[in-house]
Symmetry: C2
Subunit: 333 residues, 2 copies
Amino acid sequence: MSTATLDVLTIGNAIVDVLSRAEEDFLLAQGMPKGSMTLIDEARAEAVYQAMGPGIEISGGSAANTAAGVASLGGRAGFVGLVRNDGLGGVFGHDIRAAGVAYETQAAADGPATARCLILVTPDGERTMNTYLGAAQNLTTAHIDRAFVESASITYLEGYLWDPPPAKQAFLAAAEIAHNAGRQVALTLSDAFCVSRYRAEFLDLLRKGVVDLVFANESEVKSLYETADFDAALVQLRADAKQAVVTRSEKGALFTTDGAAVTVPAHPVAEVVDTTGAGDLFAAGFLFGHARGVDPATSLRLGALAAAEVISHIGARPQKTLADLAKEAGFIT
Amino acid sequence: MSTATLDVLTIGNAIVDVLSRAEEDFLLAQGMPKGSMTLIDEARAEAVYQAMGPGIEISGGSAANTAAGVASLGGRAGFVGLVRNDGLGGVFGHDIRAAGVAYETQAAADGPATARCLILVTPDGERTMNTYLGAAQNLTTAHIDRAFVESASITYLEGYLWDPPPAKQAFLAAAEIAHNAGRQVALTLSDAFCVSRYRAEFLDLLRKGVVDLVFANESEVKSLYETADFDAALVQLRADAKQAVVTRSEKGALFTTDGAAVTVPAHPVAEVVDTTGAGDLFAAGFLFGHARGVDPATSLRLGALAAAEVISHIGARPQKTLADLAKEAGFIT
């Protein structure tokens, strides 16, 4: 097994976010479950866009945000995801490369437009997402470069990849390449609604060892085991997953493996402005530490620190250099 | 003279901003005068974009920001400015209408792309702008709808309109329509470099009474009279301009007319995040008050309040409803 040249390679839907502030009434009127991610078609995307307020366009995509976070911590990160060669596709490519992430996926020359996610941010900072997958849904195994995957200590996949059908195969191909190269495979369950769509398949990935490390928040874990009892769900998760990171918002986060568990508190944040990207950045912090052989408690703290930065402003990618914040906090040297 | 159905109609370059954080070193390396607005061509725009960090796309344009501010205060606002019918043009049109501004300028079906302004925000919150005018430079008198201009109490024009040559004629045509309808004409000097490009013409507009009310900041006033002595420049401005609003950042602002002058302090702001739009929003507050017959001191305070909101976050348009802030502050009922 050769030395990894990337700490973390992430694979996911390449998306530009359109963020707008909205009142709870708007969500009700539009029939949007607060805090969820709903898949929408192009016509619905146009209708929601027309109804919503002025927007801010900013590159997003769950796994892409995670890659940007790893790079901001000083890690070597890569991303695989598909855009169209249109205006938003250009924005996505510029932004992820400008964030220091290796990104070589060739933009599609035809077919649907670059994916966008219409995000309504309510006054409490919570985000409700409406995703038009567009070009992202055409990601296939052909976009998975073997050497790129082999070069990464950890390949991280988003559960949302289960939505575009050909992407599942790309996901599984990448996992197989990674394992054959002696690397680790991580998965985020993405959101509770995503879990309810693909519960059996996600459990299968954990139980069969396709995934070595799973990321989930409290509601995703409960959704996975169809219970309102978090502690009961956690017992089951620990039986199914080799390693798991569970985030619990202001209650902190925990890491479990075999018999052992480590918990850390949430990182302090002055004001929660926009929770978009909180989970993505938590994963970035933990993955960076994990790839570098840092102990689990410190890796969790890196995750909490990265999440705290991203929820303190609009947008799902760090605005401050996370490596500086992590050094100030004494988590890395 | 019929009753005005719009409080303020603004005419300017229709621009989407691309904001990115940058260190002072980046400005030096790129040869960008800090705090300035530089006109760039498409090739330079591409080169700067490739060199700069991840961006946030958000609708801007000086006069368009002012219109959005007037609407946020509860005023009836309109805007005239030209985009191309491309992706960014769609973003611009959506955002200004979603802000409650009447905007009917038909997007160009061909020609250059929608204008963009690459804005580098340094750690002190100051912004340095690089504008590719694109479609905006093709604004002509044909885009000036007589009835639209006649319907507004005040028609407000940005000095930047002097950059695209045909727009000067559109500017003058709008001013003439407004005056013939018994309305007022306002002008912002836009920035000190803009003043140095068009000093003689701007002075002419003031002295000939084409403009009834001029907006300028301290450096623009000094540039207009080519002096480092603000007080001396102000004496000359008061002789040349029927009415003037001069903003002085943290030193507050003043309004002068005939022999009288009124000054107000700056509105408190917790943290200056991004000064983009400060002058535009100050103008919005003052114009809203002025159009509604509010006294000059209160109109200045409305300007200071609107400016304080916009510099407390990224982007040049208000994120909070200014009418609510103004009511809380007791400036309007």
